[in-house]
Symmetry: C2
Subunit: 226 residues, 2 copies
DNA sequence: GATGATTTGTACGTATGTATA
DNA sequence: ATATACATACGTACAAATCAT
């Protein structure tokens, strides 16, 4: 058997830096619009500018970073309109995913999804937002996999990553946790009925409801502009 | 007024190389699986390896190139299953686009779309595949724009670019031109009725039919594997 | 508006890992 | 299996453009 050193970590510096920056952006450590000085990042990660540059350019392709030629990169500053577009696209893609998943999921996948959904009940009762958030992620991830379309699943994952920066405090407020689970429940019922179209409609509504936190984002953003 | 030099061309070498490689891959000049030697490409484009490297990494993110750490890049070799996934995703996204477009398009966009559709009639009669191909592109592009969702539109464009390598000979065969226009016609009727759901179903069917050339791809690929 | 400082963009050199004889 | 050749990964150097004063 071969000795493998730290299988999880990528061997390439640019990949490690890309992951680190992705996390930093997703969790809000790097705010939108923050300047990404190449030398500064190189120093922080103890590498030269070369892998940092490559990481930044890759992130620019996936949309997390905005590169202005000869003016450096910044964390992608998305306008409220763009956030709306992102959320809408996410809602539509999730809807497509759940429709395909309804028609294609294996019994194993179905039971797995059901188990996750049942576990969320406890999290909701305890008001355990972090726990719910993790299960929510699994819920959607399981649906992605059940599409049996690896490319579509990957697209969905990427969009989710990109929207993560905006979803942070989304579940924290008021009734959202309870409503979220109710909406999941509707999706589950549609899946159980084998009605992919209905599952898609429910999922789309669910995602758009989840985006209602977006209103506050727009509100705060507009306030900031004044 | 400021003097601008060649607005169309990107100023950065990595961008120009990325575009050149994208075209080369899309039009089939670079076949799937072809090795992408950095020095060789650098020589060909008269630059150093640095911008070539950056271009390759960026293309890897968008999926056109596959990078194996320390083993260089190759033009993404997609399995028949992956091609199917790509086509299916394309079909679903186009369906979403046309549904949103149906509900949101302006009268101007509607008449523009109609004009393009009418122009295709002549191309079909003449059997002018290249002309039809151009109009077909415009038809879909107009729908993307009519979604009034820039992000979704961009996703659709990227997918289209990526699938271009496989669509090359698609329209050349037999009845496909006539059928394609008939399917567009069904989409147009659904749009005229304001029935976005129906337009989406028609578009999905249209795209999946268009992917039937895919069967031959799979067939030839499996033959190759023997 | 001009000048100096800073930062990006590109070229090049070196070491390490991979492929091949 | 070992050694050789070679391509990649990363670091460094310099030129050009941007910005700050």
């Amino acid at each position: 058997m071969m000795i493998t050193e730290e299988q999880g970590e990528p061997t390439l510096l640019s990949d490690r830096i890309r992951n680190a920056l992705t996390d930093a952006i997703a969790c809000g450590d790097l705010a939108a619009g923050a300047a990404l000085d190449e030398q500064q990042l190189a120093d922080r990660y103890g590498v030269s500018r070369t892998p940092v540059r490559e990481a930044l350019r890759q992130l620019a392709v996936s949309g997390l970073v905005e590169m202005r030629p000869r003016r450096g990169g910044i964390v992608a500053k998305v306008t409220p309109e763009q956030v709306m577009d992102l959320f809408e696209t996410m809602a539509e893609i999730e809807a497509v995913c759940v429709r395909l998943a309804t028609y294609r999921m294996t019994p194993l996948e179905r039971s797995h999804l059901l188990r996750i959904h049942e576990e969320t009940a406890a999290a909701v009762q305890c008001g355990d937002v972090d726990s719910y958030d993790g299960l929510n992620r699994q819920f959607h991830e399981t649906i992605y996999e059940a599409t049996h379309n690896d490319f579509l699943a990957e697209q969905a994952r990427q969009l989710r990553t990109r929207l993560n920066a905006f979803r942070r405090t989304q579940l924290r407020q008021g009734q959202r946790l309870i409503r979220s689970r109710e909406e999941h429940d509707e999706v589950m019922r549609a899946i159980a009925q084998g009605d992919g179209e209905k599952a898609a409609r429910c999922m789309r509504a669910h995602m758009l409801n989840a985006a209602s936190a977006l209103d506050r984002y727009i509100a705060s953003h507009e306030a900031e502009a004044c």
